[in-house]
């Protein structure tokens, strides 16, 4: 099976789990599994991550989450760019430091989603309030806590299932 396809399938699977968590009524502090899986593949096999699939998944999230078309795609592309640009540095840091990095990326992503693209708030360019910052922080914490699990699970999957030689 092609490596890109396998990566695509893991991303699709994480999207499904994310939507199940929404369906089951988890709060906004729930982890964003798709982001974590994307980060992992950008660290592990950066050359095999497809930008087109990221855009498609971003559009799917936009449809599912009700955001403007392109908002998630731009966010996911930005995360991909950061990890593609610095993956040599990020690979070598410890898992604890990676957790902190995931926390910062998740928090930034969540705050970016609070941007007022349509100008409904009038005077301000953002809709963020203290409650949103609190839920965003909890979301980032849950992401960073679950990161080691995702990291080792996907690494195990990659080593057992993906036979790829550079």
């Amino acid at each position: 099976m092609k490596v890109s396809f396998q990566i695509f399938m893991t991303l699709l699977f994480s999207l499904l789990i994310d939507s199940i968590l929404v369906f089951l009524g988890f709060s906004e502090s729930r982890p964003f599994l798709f982001l974590l899986v994307l980060i992992y593949w950008n660290l592990a096999l950066p050359e095999k991550v497809s930008l087109i699939s990221i855009i498609i998944f971003g559009f799917l999230y936009d449809l599912f989450q009700g955001t403007l078309l392109g908002v998630y795609s731009i966010g996911l592309l930005s995360v991909t760019y950061i990890f593609q640009r610095f993956f040599y540095q990020f690979r070598t840091i410890s898992i604890l430091q990676q957790c902190i990095l995931v926390f910062l990326i998740s928090l930034s992503f969540k705050l970016y989603l609070g941007f007022d693209f349509e100008g409904v708030s009038g005077s301000s360019s953002t809709l963020i309030d203290s409650e949103y910052i609190r839920s965003s922080s909890l979301h980032a914490i849950s992401n960073s806590l679950i990161w080691p699990l995702i990291y080792f699970a996907l690494r195990s999957y990659r080593r057992s299932q993906i036979t790829y030689r550079r």
């Binding site: 499904l16 939507s19 199940i20 929404v22 369906f23 009524g25 906004e28 950066p46 050359e47 991550v49 930008l51 990221i54 855009i55 971003g58 559009f59 936009d62 449809l63 599912f64 989450q65 009700g66 955001t67 403007l68 078309l69 392109g70 908002v71 795609s73 731009i74 592309l77 991909t80 760019y81 593609q84 640009r85 993956f87 989603l113 609070g114 007022d116 693209f117 349509e118 409904v120 708030s121 809709l127 309030d129 409650e131 949103y132 839920s135 030689r165 550079r166």
Partner: protein, 290 residues
Amino acid sequence: MSSEEHKVSKISSDAIFAIKPIGPLSFIASFFFCFVVLFLDIRFHFIDAYRGQAQDFINPIFSIINLPKVALDKVILRYKDKTTLIAELEEKNQEIYLLNITNTQISEIQKVNEELGLLWQKALTGNKDYFLAKKIQISGTSFRPILVIEYDKGTPVNLDSAVISKHGVAGRISSIGRINAEVLLAQDPRSFIPVKTRITRNQAIVQGGGLDRKGALINIKKTASFTEGEEILTSGLAGVFPPGYSVGTISKITDSPDSEFLDIEIIFSSTPSTIDFFLVNQRINKGEIE
């Protein structure tokens, strides 16, 4: 290993396993494409027409997810003992008895209203203009909460139809699919509902502040008289929401010196996260009500 699979040093002929990430040009092109799509959606809202249809594709997945729970419930029901079933039956009988009392009271009120010829009787007799819709889920971010409702196939649904819960106005339909529709909730910051206060009859507009957040009455001059705790009802202006439905209650009024308007906070009466069924109004169209 052939040299096509990896780079080879021209000096030493050794394999170079350096990984070449995605090039910046690809990123620039991708970002440009996404920004164009985003701009077009902000400008023309072209995707709104397809959101409801996208829900038609997504929601069968949730039905599959729900299957184990349904199966488990059926198994539990199958092995319930007789005593429990009798107790439940008695409980249901009690509920039916209470409902009968309520129905009798409602019938009496209806008779009185018919005699008085009150306006709301008209709405009551026009109950064919409402249909029942079931909540599928609430998704989205705090500032763009999306309520997805399901209705029977073939039910005529209009855009901007008012969605009403047992507590009051829940929102309006923003996108229609085959059997699913997306509802722009009253709590959404993009939602503006023309309202009037119950006692003082002041007209105003309520804007949402986000899910589980307070709304606000906007552009209220400081000379206006509003009181805390007063109920806010739909005024029927703009013809989207039928008049007289509860929207919320004024919770706080602040007169800040650096603002030319009053800051009036609203607690919405309808909390869609705790409600499973909604009524959708088909009768009211834009311009129908002054």
